[in-house]
């Protein structure tokens, strides 16, 4: 992880650590904080705790997003402090609806000039963000909203497993990860398990991201904690609730970053500090899907 971040994430670049509610790579976020990257443009549909932490650490100058909340809990206080009071630094916002930001990734992924969607008509989001435009449908059905492509410098995506080439399989909420991966100039995948290529080839429908577009593969078990990885561990909701309280005070956040990020050498140390017993409690009961038969044709 240290090497992947040092190699691919530079000051001033734009990064998308994605995943909707689950698969959020906190391990990468913490490493970026530890390496003291600055002036990043952070892109995420739901900034979540990870960007709250990175913004509190002073890593960002701008946030591109579509829903700024602590999911199912409440506010993201560090981001609000940056927006409302410029603490620790001012933060520029660029705001979309979910489908609008998904559309930006999709246009970026397919290298198209825009993505058209039925949204924004009658909404003030059109004036809040001049990049969202209404155009006349060339086929005569009236006004249609368009958003431009988005091509992050780096995407960081967490998944259940990949092989050494970066062929990545993910099951559960597919979110926007495929579109982000294809849209981005560089891709880092972070996985719970590193598997043999034969495991990937045995179930090709489950491969979301081909190694063809992957620049680095990092094996980082529990790297999405306190978010979750389907089938591996549940969301650590106590951590989300604790952050809701702690993050209301900037000094408490600074102390938390000292203890849990700067004070630790890597994410492995974070996992060790929390302790295996805690992660065992987050493991769901098994609920495996029966395998399918692809057939052998020769």
């Amino acid at each position: 992880m240290q090497k992947a971040i040092a190699t691919h994430v530079a000051d001033d670049c734009s990064i998308a650590i994605e995943g909707f509610t689950g698969f959020i790579c906190f391990a990468a976020g913490h490493e970026i904080i530890r390496q003291r990257r600055r002036k990043l443009t952070l892109i995420r549909m739901t900034p979540d705790l990870i960007y709250d932490q990175m913004i509190a650490a002073g890593a960002a100058k701008k946030l591109i997003f579509s829903y700024m909340g602590n999911p199912g809990v409440g506010s993201l206080y560090c981001i609000r402090r940056a927006v409302e009071k410029s603490v620790p630094l001012p933060l520029e916002l660029e705001e979309y609806s979910h489908y609008g930001l998904v559309g930006r990734y999709a246009a970026g992924a397919a290298r198209m000039p825009f993505f058209a969607l039925r949204s924004y008509v009658g909404s003030d989001m059109l004036t809040a963000n001049p990049l969202i435009k209404l155009i006349d449908d060339p086929y005569g059905t009236g006004k249609i909203a368009v958003v431009p492509p988005l091509n992050p410098d780096v995407a960081i995506l967490h998944a259940q497993r990949a092989d050494r080439q970066g062929n990545t399989q993910l099951w559960g909420l597919l979110g926007m990860q495929k579109e982000v991966a294809f849209a981005s100039k560089r891709v880092i995948v972070v996985v719970e398990e590193l598997v043999d290529e034969s495991v990937i080839r045995a179930d090709p429908n489950r491969t979301l991201i081909p190694g063809l577009i992957v620049d680095a593969v990092v094996h980082e078990p529990y790297g999405a904690h306190p978010s979750y990885v389907q089938g591996y561990y549940d969301r650590d909701n106590e951590s989300y609730l604790a952050w809701d309280k702690l993050s209301q005070d900037h000094a408490a956040v600074v102390a938390w970053l000292d203890e849990w990020v700067y004070g630790l050498e890597n994410f492995g140390a974070y996992v060790g500090k929390i302790g295996q017993a805690h992660f065992d409690k987050l493991k769901p009961e098994p609920y495996p899907a029966p395998s399918v038969d692809y057939g052998r044709y020769r």
């Binding site: 909707f20 509610t21 689950g22 549909m45 739901t46 997003f65 579509s66 829903y67 700024m68 909340g69 999911p71 199912g72 809990v73 506010s75 981001i79 609000r80 927006v83 409302e84 705001e95 979309y96 609806s97 979910h98 489908y99 609008g100 998904v102 559309g103 999709a106 969607l117 039925r118 949204s119 924004y120 008509v121 009658g122 909404s123 003030d124 989001m125 809040a128 059905t141 009236g142 006004k143 559960g172 909420l173 597919l174 979110g175 926007m176 495929k178 579109e179 979750y228 389907q230 549940d234 969301r235 909701n237 769901p284 609920y287």
Partner: protein, 255 residues
């Protein structure tokens, strides 16, 4: 028969569930709407499939989801798709019959603000923003709002229009080509409001037990019109309360 000791939240949940009678597809948010939908599914809408913006069609959650991206929504669902497919193929395609929405502010035409209180560039309070709300409000066949009646929420003019309702009223919505039908009812903790008039302006439709027209008007920031006949809504039944308390929200998170 009913239990007099029910909370305002339980009443909202029971009322919302009843309004979903016979529904086939409902777009669900977390919190009260989620409990209401799951209550409806075991009472008045057995064929209901729950749709979540996280990409889940036909969820069968085994616990109260902590958020709309909870892994319990995935296990046992009919289908899990990308968000591009969820918004494009399910919502925009017109497959969402009813969407449940809320916000920090609502105006008399059912437009919603979930973005900022105060000026956009210098907000007094920065709220979460749209999420999927703008396209849901645009494309769902029917929209039901769930919001507590509060004078600071039911306002004459929104600080920011996040999600379009009936816009400036009348046929302004269809003139602009919005696909869905727009807001139909507002389920509150005191009354049900609807938009059943030519102006598409919110009006009082039904009162909960012990609530008066005056109580409702006091929490609304404009002179609220009245439907031709004001109905009375019955309190949650013992069975509704049992399902909410024992099955759907045993920890009482939303009580």
């Amino acid at each position: 028969m009913s239990d007099p000791a029910y909370s305002a939240s339980e009443m909202m949940i029971a009322v919302a569930a009843r309004m979903l009678t016979g529904a086939r597809t409902v777009f669900v948010g977390v919190g009260l709407p989620n409990i209401a939908c799951n209550l409806a599914r075991v009472t008045v809408a057995p064929d209901m499939e729950l749709i979540y913006e996280s990409g889940v069609y036909g969820a069968r959650p085994e616990r109260l989801p902590l958020s709309i991206g909870d892994p319990t929504l995935v296990s046992g669902a009919v289908s899990v798709v990308s968000m591009a497919d969820l918004f494009g193929l399910y919502l925009q395609r017109g497959l969402v019959e009813i969407a449940l929405l809320g916000g920090a502010q609502i105006d008399k035409h059912g437009n919603l603000n979930s973005t900022v209180i105060g000026d956009y560039a210098r907000p007094k309070t920065r709220l979460p923003g749209s999420g999927g709300a703008c396209e849901i409000a645009t494309n769902a066949q029917r929209t039901f709002m769930i919001m507590r009646l509060k004078r600071r929420a039911f306002v004459e003019k929104l600080d920011f229009v996040t999600s379009p309702g009936h816009l400036t009223g009348g046929d302004s919505r269809s003139r602009l080509g919005l696909a869905g039908g727009g807001p139909e009812i507002v389920i509150t903790d005191m009354a049900i409001l609807n938009f059943d008039n030519a102006e598409r302006e919110m009006q009082l439709n039904a009162l909960y037990p012990g609530i008066t027209e005056k109580n409702v008007q006091e929490e609304v920031g404009w002179p609220l019109g009245l439907a031709a006949k004001i109905e009375e809504v019955s309190a949650p039944s013992l069975e509704e309360l049992r399902l909410i308390r024992e099955d759907l929200d045993p920890s009482g998170m939303y009580r």
